[in-house]
Each structure stands twice: as structure tokens, then as C-alpha cells.
Symmetry: D2
Subunit: 261 residues, 4 copies
């Protein structure tokens, strides 16, 4: 069965900013979903912020293999309950692609446990993305590097934890560098952060960028059954211990009690 992807878009600049509207008539999420659907193994649909529950109901997330996240203008407007729901699904095994300004989204900051801050400049300068880990599934089909002719600069230090893998590092005309492709694992869920994607440039129509997105979806999809119990803390009572033991000493909990939270 095809990998089920939901492409989430904040959909504010996509509608309100003329430049963005011209570049992405169906929104950035529309262009991204189209790019993903070029792969027969992927079925991508979209969800946007203005929809009920931001388009991310429990039921829909439950059948989503990979979620992609692009937001910029109103991170603060995303409902905390939806953020919790997405995090739980990532821990259970749903893949997550965090794109560009999504570095400051609630969901990325929650999963990283760090500020996720960086430096930035909007000058339309050139970005050259170097492949660090050539054997990585996300880098397949790319040359040793590729260029994004006009980009927003994102510069180090990028306040994220050490990644599982550094897949890409970017070079900028203006003199900065940035770890532009990083992987993480949280619970059973794989996370890929990819920095290119400023909305006033046609970055999501770039063939190399689209290759990265398709590769990343396939890398992030975890076919294992969802770990729906991953947030539970089950008691293993003494009489069911794997090795025979006898209870000794005082106890705090009464039998069958649930642990404190």
C-alpha cells in the first residue's frame, strides 16, 4: 500500500501575499503534495491551519504514515491539543518532515527539547547544499551538491540537539553555513528537518528539492504497527515477575494503583 502522507500548510502567506500566491497558486502545500504524488508509492493529501482541528483530526492522523509541516506566520496560533496529538503520533511511529520556518513551530520545538533558534537574512542569495552522507536514503538521486539560486539564509548556530545524522550542510553567498538536513528519532517516529523553502522564492518547484522530499517521505515511513501504548507506564506486579521474587520492605503504592504523573 502507498505511504499515506498529509502535507500540512499554514496557508497564510499562500493566500495573503501576492508573490507567494503567484508562485504557488494552490498553496505551497499543493505544490509539495503534487511533487510527492509523482511517486507511485506515495499518496499525499493536504491539510491547512484554517480547517477544523487544523485538518488534523485524531482519526486522520491515525491513518497518516508521514506528516510534513510548513508554518511561519502564526506558529502561536496552532492549537496545543493538536500539537500534543501530533507528538503522540510521532512517538507511535508516524514520520515527520519539518520544513524551513517550521524550525520554530510548536511541534518541532516540543520534539527537540531545545529553542531551535538560528540566524537569518532575506536577500535572495545563493545557497549550495552539500551532501554529507552520500549513502543516506534521503540523498539518493542527488549529485555531490546542488544549488538553490535564491534563498533565505539560515545560519548557525542552530540550537537543536546533536542529530542522529547530518545529511546536508549549506553554504551561502553571504558567508554563513547551516546544517540544512538533519535526522532525529523520537520514540518510534523518524524526523527530518530540511531548511530550504522560503515562500517568496519558487523553492518547492526545484527538482532537487522535490527529490529530497520524496526520499525523505520514504525514509520516514515506519511500517511497524503503531506503538499506541508508548506513553503508558505499566506496573509489573510482583506476582507476575518473570523471575520469582518476594516483596520486601515498605511500599508507597497500593495494589493495582496507577503510577503518579
Amino acid at each position: 500500500m502507498a505511504i499515506q502522507v498529509v502535507v500540512w500548510g499554514e496557508n497564510i502567506h499562500d493566500r495573503e501575499n501576492e508573490v507567494v500566491r503567484d508562485l504557488y497558486p494552490n498553496g505551497m502545500h499543493g505544490t509539495i503534495a503534487d511533487a510527492l504524488n509523482q511517486d507511485a508509492g506515495i499518496e499525499a493529501t493536504t491539510a491547512t491551519m484554517e480547517q477544523p482541528e487544523h485538518g488534523l483530526s485524531e482519526e486522520r492522523l491515525a491513518r497518516t504514515d508521514v506528516l510534513t509541516w510548513w508554518g511561519h506566520r502564526d506558529h502561536g496560533g496552532v492549537d496545543d491539543a493538536v500539537v500534543e496529538r501530533v507528538a503522540q503520533r510521532v512517538w507511535e511511529g508516524m514520520g515527520l518532515l519539518v520544513l524551513h520556518s517550521g524550525h520554530f513551530s510548536k511541534i518541532f520545538k516540543k520534539l527537540m527539547g531545545t529553542p531551535c533558534s538560528l540566524t537569518w537574512r532575506e536577500a535572495g542569495e545563493k545557497e549550495r547544499i552539500w551532501v554529507i552522507n552520500r549513502g543516506h536514503p534521503i540523498a539518493q538521486g542527488l549529485d555531490s551538491h546542488f544549488v538553490i539560486p535564491q534563498t533565505e539564509m539560515y545560519g548557525e548556530p542552530f540550537a537543536v540537539p546533536e542529530p542522529m545524522e547530518t545529511v546536508f550542510i549549506s553554504w551561502y553567498d553571504g558567508g554563513e553555513v547551516f546544517r540544512s538536513g538533519l535526522t532525529y528519532q523520537r520514540g518510534a517516529g523518524r524526523i527530518f528537518y530540511f531548511s530550504p523553502g522560503h515562500e517568496v522564492y519558487p523553492i518547492y518547484t526545484d527538482a532537487n528539492v522535490q527529490t529530497v522530499l520524496r526520499n525523505a517521505v520514504k525514509w520516514a515511513a515506519n511500517p511497524a504497527p503503531a506503538l499506541t501504548d508508548i506513553s503508558d507506564a505499566p506496573n509489573r506486579p510482583t506476582d507476575k515477575a518473570l523471575e520469582p521474587i518476594v516483596e520486601r520492605g515498605p511500599t508507597l503504592h497500593v495494589d493495582g494503583e496507577i503510577g503518579f504523573r
Copy 2:
């Protein structure tokens, strides 16, 4: 100058439970602080939940090098603003020791980005703690292993990210294992999780446990200046770029604008 430590205690069972009160007349935080103060290079004081701002004012945290955290009965009662404040200080460089049931504290879950769940059993069984990384500063002065005669079992799977280092792994009478000593880095702050410490047993009076705590405080203390700007995302304008560049193409932001959050 000595390392400034604040030993934080929830101080509920310490007061309300007779067994705990007898074991720890000054609270577990009192016993832990005394153990730390045996080292001339450490100055430890205590803070408890019932104090204003849980004893963790901005001013006090600003001069704290390492914070230790023990909570169990009422994680939910910890003020979110204090949790944010502690997280910010960790990112700036404050060390953090998370103890035992603190695995489910708001601050640990926030910094890990995972559920931090585990399995558990309160049977007073034996725990043998193996040193995995003998050269690690936290393991100095220990033998290849040590025993805690009566413990609460914490079992795998422990839903945390892959650690920077696995320092200890525990063996239990009842047949389980647990990664009982793990290190993490978040921003400039070092984090050590250490699982022994159930309140109805005299674990914090154990000489080996006290050695671990003193070692961990010294390991976690970062003498570098606090990165008070770590959550900022500064703009680096085109006219101040390190390499001469010319702005090209459309822009979203107006000059001097602050980035979106």
C-alpha cells in the same frame, strides 16, 4: 569558586508519608544536599515545591550552576512558567540532574521530547548497577558494579531519545534491565538522568549513590558564560553580511522586522 547547586524536592511524601519521614527527617532534598556538600567544590542548597515560585526564582536560577530534580506525587502541580524558566537556564548552560521518578516531570519530558515512560514494580527487590562507560567522569570511584539492596524496579523500554552516553545499566532480581544512567546535551546544558531513588528505601544514604551524585554535579557544571541569547533568532541584514552580497528578488520581511514565532 564552588559549584552552586540547588537540590529541588517535591517534598510531599517527605512530609506526609511516615516511612519517608523516618528515612529522611530533613526530606530527601536535605539528605542529597548534605551528600553534595561533603565535596568542598560544591555548595548545595535546597528548594521545594511549596515555596513561592517553587523556590526557583529567576534570580536564583541565574546563579545556579546545577539543578537536581526529584518529584513524584504531583508533577502536574509544577507551574508551567517555572518549567519554561528552568528549560531556558538549561539551554543557557545550567546542568540538570533528573532523579528517579523525575522521569515523568514536566521539565524532563520537555527537554527530551519523548514520553519518558517505563515499566515499574515496587517489591523492594535487588538492583545491580553496572558501569558501562568506566572512563566517564560520573563513574569515577565506583567498582565495576554496585548493588542497591532494596529498590523500585524501573524497566525497559524507557521512552527517551538515544543518549549521548550510556553510563549505567541496571539488572533486577525480577528479570528486567534498565538504562539507569544516561547523559544528554540540550543547548549548552548537560543533563544526567539517574534512576535509583525510590522514597521508601534509604537509597540516597548509599555511599555509591552519593558518589554518583557528586560526580554528576561536577560533570554537569558548565563554566562557560551563560548563553542568555540562545533562544533569539537574530537577523543578519544584507548590508552587514560577511561577504559582499546584493539583495535580489522579492522579500517578505520589511527592514528591521523581527522574525515570526
Copy 3:
């Protein structure tokens, strides 16, 4: 196309020790290959030490996706040239499963860069293997733990680098623990170390162990083209630089010279 696996066996105790011969009439490699071939997506053949080039010619390795390695009695007898050849193929992208006493093989020590030492006891005691990373591909189809009724104890400290992922940790009757399933990446190649497999017990006939081996083969197979140039250090001459630069200052190398090794 099916994943091409070569199951390498030292084949000394398999022939010379009566107990091993009775357990594994076709050698441990034969039993392992049979277990792998139960999966239609895998085509496993065997190679043994006494064959020319230990059965691992350049040509054969070039078409191998995953190599499994079991050796014990005569690690020192493995030809260094073959070890180099296997390492190069791992760096290019071939997967490698290192089994049991293979922890002391030349190839594993070479790829780890550490002594790979451990403690051990041959008492036929019980080993309980806990799944640490339940969402990991290698753990699929397993319960939360499984038991090996008779095992050789391998104990910590295991002198290997911090792994990419800790997949399994073992509990032993005699009181030890061991990180029994660890993953690494070296170049484009994925490596999985799995500790059960002492030759005088029927461990490779165990259904759970066979599941692990099949899962690990699929996890380790990298479908990307081999990075046959991964050990090269190409010069990028000034006149072909991606950005226009002018050579300045003295030089050590003459034009077209190959770098020193």
C-alpha cells in the same frame, strides 16, 4: 531483486567439536543461511574460512548486499587483505551483521576502532533479551522480550563506541547485563552486532533469533549504488572551483599531484 547475503562461517568448531557438529550438521553458517532463506526477499549463500580467499573474492563481495560474520577459534588466521576488502565494501554500502564471538574479529575491531572486549562465562545460564527500541525494524515480530534458555554470558563493559541505536539489552541469571543488539554506520554501510550465538547451544535454531537475523539483513541492506570512490581524496583544482577564486600564496603540491597518504 532479492537481497544477496553471504553467511560467513569460520567452520572450525563446526567440524572439529562433536557437540557443535551434532547441533549444526551443515555448520552454523548452514543453519543461518537456511533461516534467512525462509524469507522470499533474501537469497543467502555461505562462505567459509578454509575456502580460497576465505570464500570472499572481490567479485563475490561486489555483488553481496549483506555479509554476516561468525568466527571464534582463529580470528588471527583471517587474511588481512580480505579484512581490508570487506571493510572497503562496508564503506561502499554493504551491510554487515557481526555475530556473537565475532566481537573479537579483525573486521569488527577495524570498523569500531576500539578493543571490543567484554567479560564472559560459559555456564549454560538463561539470557533474557529485552527490546529497547520497539519501533526499530530489527525488533519487528518480537514480543517485549524473549529468552534464550542456555547461553554463554557476555557482560559489560563492552568496549565499543556509543552505538547509533541500542536495540537490545540482555539480562543474565548470573547477575550481568549486556548491550546485545547495537547498530552502527560506517561510510554507507550499516552494521548490526548481535551477541547470542554460542556454538555449543542450539541458539541459531531459535525462532526469535532467526527473526532478528532476517530483520537485520533487511535493515542492513542499502539499495543505493555502491560508493566505490569513498576512499579517494580528489583534488578540486582552483580553475574548477564552484565559486571564482584566484590562487594566492605558496603551494606545496604541484598541479595534478595526488595527495599524500
Copy 4:
């Protein structure tokens, strides 16, 4: 007591090449040792390749806390026995700083388990080194970045394992990037690779570079007792097991036998 450092220099170009001789009248090792000795907490001496045992006798290494390694012209000429000796000391706890072209030294390749290859260009171009991990001890006293006016370009992909920490990333005039400061742990030993240092430019006289070297020495020094037994694999016989067990089933080893290698 001061940290005991041995600054190892290949000392070939230092003597034979006029440019290098003029820049470093006492050899690069001499300049590096002088820079380290500016810190009262460090006592640095030098050793060079042409000395007996390359200046690295067992006795001298045994009292060395941190070794720095610069080689280029004749990596192949380094005696394998000395390489083994250095590796053993790293595993025991000696720190190691690998400098510039030392990426292709036998000792670095041995400890990494990868080819350690990269791309390169000798054009005297500008290198800007960005601090990625501002709170790291090795980055103390540096600004957010610093410039090396004339450098040899080292470019990605750098075929090393994922590091413990990425401390620095370099930007080059010619369009490349490089992870120029990386940390690793092997056994009890800490390793820092630092890429600047081409011999025909005065890089080791640069104030920022010298700060990095002093910081790195202090970071790499491990005050713990040397783990001289780290390469041993001790048997833990049944009658000395920590938990009472009874030997069951067949055995391969006879009592008191040493494990195979």
C-alpha cells in the same frame, strides 16, 4: 598537576620545504608546543618521526595525558607497532588531537574505522570557521566565527563516523563546506579532529587557532586512572558468579582457559 602533552610532528616538510622552514623555524610541533605552554595548566613537549620509536616509547606514552598528531608526507612510514601503542593509550584514557592532514594518518583511520577521505584544494583561499556548539569547552573565548585568511580547502564528504559533537563547520571562498571540528570517544579516550593547519601558511600562529588547541587539550585530558585492562576479556567463572548459578549443558572451554582471539 599540569596536563602532560606530547606534540607529535612528522617533521619532514618542516625541514625540507623552504616555505615551511621560514614559517616554523622550530617546526610546526615547536610552534604548537609553545602555544600550548602559554597556559600554566599545560606542559607540552615535542616528539618527531625521525626519533627512535618516533619519540613515542611506551614509557613516555604512559605518562602522556594528551597527544597531538600532525603528519602529511609519510603516513605510511609510521611504524604499525607505534600506532597500536597509541591506540591502546587512547582506549585507556589518553586524549588525542588530530590536526589537518592527520585525517589520513594510520592512527586516525584506525580509531575511526572509516576511510577518513575528503576533497581538497590548495589555493590559499579564505576559510571562515563557524562555532556550532557555542557552549562547548573547545569553543570558549571565540567569537561566533573566525577567519583563516589563507587556507587549504578541505571539503565534504568527509568519510568519518557521525561525531559525538560537531563543534565547528567551515565555509570556503571557493564554495565548499567542511565539518572542521569534531569530537569522538573511543574507550576512555577523547578525540578531537581539527582541520585547519596547512603547512605553507602560518595557521598555527593564529590566535584563534591557538585558543582552540589549548581548549581542546583541556577538554581531551581525562583525569581518571588509565584503564590498562580495557583490551582484556576476563572470564567470570560460574563459581564466582554474582548470583548463584549452576553450570548446565556442554562447554567448549576448559576451566581457566583464556578466550580465543
